[in-house]
Amino acid sequence: MVAGRRHRVWLTRGWPTRAWQTGTALRIGLAALIGLAAAGGTAAAVLTSGNAAAATATTATASGAEPAGTISETGSSLLYPLIHAWGTAYQAQHPGETVNTKSTSSGVGISDASAGTADIGASDAYLSSGDLVKNPTLLNIPLAVSAQTIIYNVPGLSAGTHLKLNGPVLAGIFNGSITMWNNPAITSLNPGANLQAIRIVPVHRSDSSGDTFLFTSYLAMTDPTWNNAIGYGTTAAWPKVPGMAAQKGNAAVVSYCGTTAGCIGYAGISYLSQAQREGLGEAMLANGADRYTLPTASAIEASISTFASITPPNETISMIDGPSAAGYPLVNYEYAVVSTRQPDARRASDIRAFLSWAITKGNAPSYLNAVGFAALPPSVATLSAEQIAEIGS
């Protein structure tokens, strides 16, 4: 018996590595084929809705057959404006398939995708290891690059002023140690700005939010006191600060700030145009090189360029406060959370086709510029294509 066991080992030595290599090669090859198909316009078309309710769209499948299914998407309110634009364009290009989209929150997107009540969950935050361990069939697939903006309503500032803020000051505002806009910690960063004795009204998200995950990550990264006392996550144990408000969704945060003098909050860059319409200011944030930058396309691309090459195969990576001197410190991938096991092959094919379109044609400037997003770096798009190829039934 002993000799037999040893014998079998010698015969099989080394096969797992070869099998892994073969599997990887197949996945990469399949991903490349899907990417080519999508780029060539043969991929599916998908419709997205234009509001929080739902809308329909049609699509053709990657194989060219007319689809008849419906794809549902819910989650990140930050990604929602872009997915809405994608859906509208996709419907125009590929009539046939219905896709329902809904602006909720990243937390809802993750939980609904985990529970199987949505085909695609949109999230500003990558899946936690806890989520992945409990739901091992889930993938988080970057679709585009986004950023968080810090918006404020400070009366008296001259037009076009961008206040300079850094992590410790923001942490002080949100932990209640900095309560007035003319606090020396703020005025020292902004000499010459007309900062008056106005009470600061911090506002944060009330729902489980990827925006909160990103914002508190920046605070934790840059302020040890915040990191030790509060930490970071999609929800947070916010300190009890007089006047602090909580709002559900990016749009509500922007609206609240628009009507509340002294307000400061965080919102996805896709809501920057709304914030500007509300007359809100946009802060320059200190990056890792202690330079203050705005979330321009070049600053976002500078930030992610240092992370693209080290993004792991499952694309879980934090890019907060990276090393680029020209970069904006609060950037992230926008993720589609999808299960590798769909109810049927047709559904899997439709989802693969839509996501493939999103990371290729959907990453064109005509879509991304309108919401302030940046395109995926090519190496990351390749990783996303490989993950998309894993979606099956």
């Binding site: 018996m1 002993v2 066991r5 040893r6 014998h7 079998r8 080992v9 099989t12 096969w15 797992p16 590595t17 099998a19 892994w20 990243s106 937390g107 993750i110 939980s111 999230s123 935050a125 990558y126 899946l127 936690s128 290891s129 806890g130 989520d131 992945l132 361990v133 409990k134 739901n135 091992p136 489980s208 990827g210 995950f213 990550s217 934790a220 990264m221 990191n227 030790n228 006392a229 509060i230 930490g231 970071y232 996550g233 999609t234 929800t235 947070a236 144990a237 890792g288 992370f307 080290i310 792991p312 499952n314 879980t316 990576i317 934090s318 890019m319 907060i320 406060d321 990276g322 090393p323």
Partner: protein, 432 residues
């Protein structure tokens, strides 16, 4: 021939006496050799199975258990080290390296031994997955050292995912396969069917020997045939020796399994579950996005581990003896207080009090979750070591009892054949 042997006095012989003698001689020699061959094979099978259980399967089961423990401990150690500081002290880093080296060595041992397709598939995942895991940890270390703890933390999450989704499930499969191999080898060493068949052959041979001597007595007027008598005595000695040796070995092995490897296996399973509870608590700390909680898993797994009559610790306490029993009783006491501490970490996490949760999980002071885990694991390990000693002592004794049987049966069988030839040769000579 059978009729001739059974009814010689009734005049049913159909052949002359010399021919009958020659027939009897050939039959008895063949039976003697058959006894030697089959009895020897039975002795050899039981002896090699006992030897394999003692020297191969049980050590491999230990390797598999140790491999799981090393991987789980490596992940918890390196994760908590970086949770505590972006620049951890040397001690946890060395512990992590030691764990990985131990796991790698165990994998090499298990690979050399081999197994069935399930075993090979699981081991293949470990062989390819462990370098992947360590590469993620290395990237995390690099990011931490460059001053990007969040990026480093995200790589630690990726590493933990590899550990929890690939390495630990595969290690558990390998461990279960090795336990099955121990049970199989022990079953072969203590199995009754072939032993019963061997003894039946001995009885048949003995019966024919006795009837042959009675037939010769009537035919030759000699009361005793020394050759056949010697063969009979040798048969009785070798058969009794085989039966006694087997029963002794079986008793020893049953004792070793019941009070040694059995509770050791139960404790090893408890250890795996304890490590899972600890690993889940750490995972809960580093999982900052989403809303996954391992609280329900903790509640379910803690009930499985025990204490309690039907729990793993309860079962091990009931089966083990001596120092092993003492260690398990201590583990039962430690488990309760550790669960209380561990449950509090989930309360903090559910309230999004991440900093306090992190401190509760990675804090190392007296009464901390980490200290409770270490103490509980230490007691379980002591219990496993004690139970392993019981098994090895009993299995060695059983193996010793089986070792000489092969030689005894074969030598006895050859002498029996010679005795038969010698006994008939003189009688046949009288007819020339």
């Amino acid at each position: 021939m059978t009729t001739m042997l059974l009814s010689p006095a009734r005049g049913r012989l159909r052949s002359s006496t010399p021919v009958a003698m020659r027939s009897l001689l050939v039959s008895l020699v063949l039976l003697s050799l058959a006894w030697g061959a089959f009895g020897g094979w039975v002795a050899s099978e039981h002896s090699s199975a006992a030897h394999a259980a003692l020297t191969v399967d049980e050590p491999l089961s230990l390797d598999a258990s140790q491999m799981y423990q090393s991987i789980a401990d490596a992940d918890v150690t390196i994760t908590t080290a970086f949770l505590a500081s972006s620049q951890p002290t040397l001690t946890p880093l060395q512990q992590y390296q030691h764990d990985i080296a131990t796991a790698s060595a165990d994998i090499a041992q298990l690979r050399a031994a081999g197994g069935n397709a399930t075993f090979d598939t699981a081991l293949g995942k470990l062989i390819s997955g462990l370098p992947t895991y360590t590469s993620y940890v290395a990237e995390a270390e690099s990011q931490y050292s460059l001053g990007f703890p969040l990026t480093g933390g995200s790589f630690m999450q990726v590493a933990s995912e590899e550990a929890h989704l690939t390495l630990l499930p595969a290690a558990k499969t390998v461990f279960q396969q090795e336990n099955d191999a121990v049970s199989s080898a022990s079953g072969e060493a203590t199995g009754l069917p072939t032993e019963i068949i061997a003894l039946l052959l001995a009885i048949i041979t003995g019966y024919i020997l006795v009837r042959s001597q009675r037939w010769l007595t009537r035919r030759t007027n000699r009361i005793i045939n020394p050759g056949l008598l010697a063969a009979t005595v040798l048969l009785v000695i070798s058969a009794v020796w085989l039966a006694a040796g087997f029963l002794t070995a079986r008793q020893d092995l049953d004792h070793g399994i019941g009070q040694g490897s059995g509770p050791a296996e139960t404790l090893a399973q408890a250890s795996i579950d304890v490590q899972q509870i600890r690993g889940d608590a750490v995972l809960n700390v580093i999982s900052r996005s989403g809303d996954a909680s391992f609280q329900q898993d903790f509640t379910a797994t803690s009930k499985l581990v025990g204490p309690g009559a039907s729990s793993l610790l309860g079962s091990a306490a009931g089966a083990s003896s001596g120092s092993g029993h003492t260690a398990v009783v201590t583990a039962e006491q430690q488990a309760g207080s550790w669960y209380t501490t561990n449950a509090q970490t989930y309360t903090l996490g559910n309230a999004a009090n991440y900093a306090a949760e992190r401190t509760a999980v990675i804090g190392t002071g007296s009464g901390s979750s980490a200290a409770g885990y270490t103490a509980l694991e230490s007691s379980i390990t002591k219990g496993i070591d004690a139970d392993q000693s019981v098994f090895q002592s009993a299995a060695a004794s059983g193996s010793d009892a089986l070792s000489p049987l092969l030689a005894v049966v074969i030598v006895a069988a050859l002498l029996m054949a010679l005795g038969c030839i010698w006994g008939f040769r003189h009688r046949l000579a009288e007819y020339r």
